[in-house]
Amino acid sequence: MDRWLLIISTLCFFLAMVRTVIAIKARNYRPAGFNFSAIALGFVFQTAFLSVRGHALGRCPLTNLFEVFIFLAWSVSLIYLLIGPAYRLSLMGAFTAPLVFALQTFALLAPIDLPHPRVSSPSPWLEMHASVSLIAYGAFALACVAGLMYLVQERQLKSRQINSMFYHFPPLTDLFAAITRLLWLGFILLTAGIAAGFFTGQPLPYVKIAWSLGVWIFYAAILLARHLGTTAPRRIAALCVVAFSAALTLLWGITFLSQAHSL
């Protein structure tokens, strides 16, 4: 039954995506409430899915790669809904919906929803470590989306090829400010998530520690470059896209290879 909730949620994100594509093709893109409403509805069904799954498991639903992907998609939607309207990033929905749709479609289609053998309740520190880290990834995903938007907008300005969506994008300086804030939000959450991992009382998985620290150092370097003012905003935006893509691939790889990652 819980998979149906997820299918409905995925359809909501699909609708938001299709609406955007149609509007762009008609060269009449307006950041109407439709996208926001579709994403909000998709988020409600995501939450319902995680809640049903959590009740069934009696723990935070992060027991396999399938749930990790859904939790990540939920984090992306949550952060979009929280910061999208606040920072006038309504168009971000046009970029967020495809990302969430892709994550959930992959999770639904790939044979990764395998029951986890462990049944005992995990340590609250372990639950905190996993959930906070994934919410951090949600922030990094949105930084990646904002980075993509920055690159698209910057490309249009440089090439002087202005299309109908151009005037609906947030200004470059606002996008850069949003990228900075999202990077900080993700970085703080990731730091907290990693720190929580040391209090689980379980043997430390060294591959995971190395990967987590690698991601942490990568984002720390981006933030440092941003605040030293030695790197152009375009490069910071590109680094956000590279960092998230790399981190997501590694997350998938490590989780796939190491059953120890799940709770």
Partner: protein
């Protein structure tokens, strides 16, 4: 009952002809007293002169045209050919198109709606607008609003100055803390600087070879004049440079800009070069964080916007067709009732129908 529109516009008449038939404040009274109109409204803009009227008996186009002429003037034969006439539902459709900006010289311009509202308010005040014009114009305002909000007809800037300001807004968002440097004191620079000032720019610096001209322009745009030899120092501090000098070769080059931008990598620089020949070397656009637009690129964007607006005309026409269809129900029934009972109270017509 006849509902009609007689007029001329940029489509049919040159500016000299439009000037001769510009009409006057008392036109609605004259149309009612001399031409037999029961209701009359004059809509004049720089591109059109139109009379919307209702009458019990047909009123000839020439009769309306005579009323539009200033006293003592006579219309030439070829001038009459410039007049168009729309009757009944064609008149309704025409007004909806005009109010929505579909018939404007710059498609999608919104000034026309304000002008139509003013014309309607004046006719209401003088008692020249009765139930037919009241219903017609109220609906036209609704239609215009819908066309604007449901299509992209008003989207994109269509003049060089407004394109430049819109681009600046897409780079910087807000202008309050932004600084602008005017290199040269050309007229186009002045217009763009004024537009930026209106949008909130507080710090405008003007530099020119002639100090007097720099000071004069600085006074006009509420900025301050700075010495020409210091332009590089100011360039380091500002966010927007508007250049329009008469220099025969580029004065802003990659070589002299590179050291100025070294410490401001995270702050974009928007350069608007409206000089011919150009003041800024084209390869400056390749520099990190610099966005250079010359007159050709600004004009090209204005043309793109206009083309995009034209693509939206069909969508606007669909909305208008729906409203004309809807309006026709009330119009035909009201017209029939007035034809059967010419003394029908005005209130009965206003409150019935769609």
């Amino acid at each position: 009952m006849n509902l009609f529109c007689v007029g001329l516009s940029h489509h049919t008449a040159n500016v000299e002809t439009r000037e001769r038939f510009v009409g006057h404040a008392a036109i609605d009274r004259i149309l009612r007293e001399k031409a037999g109109c029961t209701e009359a409204l004059l809509l004049t803009t720089c591109n059109r002169v139109e009379v919307y009227a209702a009458s019990a008996e047909p009123v000839a186009t020439a009769q309306v045209a005579r009323c539009l002429l200033a006293e003592g003037m006579v219309a030439a034969g070829d001038e009459m050919e410039a007049f168009y006439r729309h009757e009944s539902l064609q008149c309704v459709q025409h007004l909806f198109r005009v109010a929505s900006g579909l018939d404007s010289m710059v498609v999608g311009e919104t000034e026309i709606l304000g002008q139509a509202k003013k014309a309607y308010a004046a006719a209401r005040e003088s008692g020249a607008a009765g139930p037919f014009l009241h219903r017609l114009f109220q609906r036209a305002f609704r239609v215009a609003k819908q066309v604007r909000s449901r299509t992209g007809i008003t989207r994109g800037a269509v003049s060089v100055g407004s394109v430049a300001v819109d681009l600046a807004e897409q780079i910087f968002g807000h202008f309050e803390s932004r600084k602008v440097l005017l290199l040269g004191a050309g007229e186009a620079s002045e217009r763009t600087a004024r537009a930026l000032r209106k949008r909130g720019v507080r710090d405008i610096r003007v530099t020119n070879r002639s100090v007097e001209r720099a000071e004069a322009l600085a006074a006009l745009v509420e900025g301050r004049a700075v010495p020409m030899e210091d332009w590089e120092t100011h360039c380091r501090e500002v966010d927007i440079v508007i250049s329009s000098t008469a220099a025969p070769t580029p004065i802003v080059t990659r070589e002299n800009l590179t050291p100025l931008l070294r410490d401001r990598l995270d702050r974009p620089l928007f350069i608007i070069d409206i000089a011919v020949p150009r003041d800024v070397a084209p390869d400056v656009n390749e520099m990190e964080g610099v966005f250079l637009y010359d007159i050709d690129s600004l004009q090209s964007i204005a043309q793109q916007s206009l083309a995009l607006r034209r693509q939206q005309i069909a969508a606007g026409e669909e909305i208008i067709a729906e409203h004309v269809d809807d309006f026709s129900g009330w119009f035909v029934s009201a017209r029939d009732r007035v034809n059967l009972a010419p003394d029908l109270p005005e209130g009965r017509l206003r409150t019935s129908g769609s």
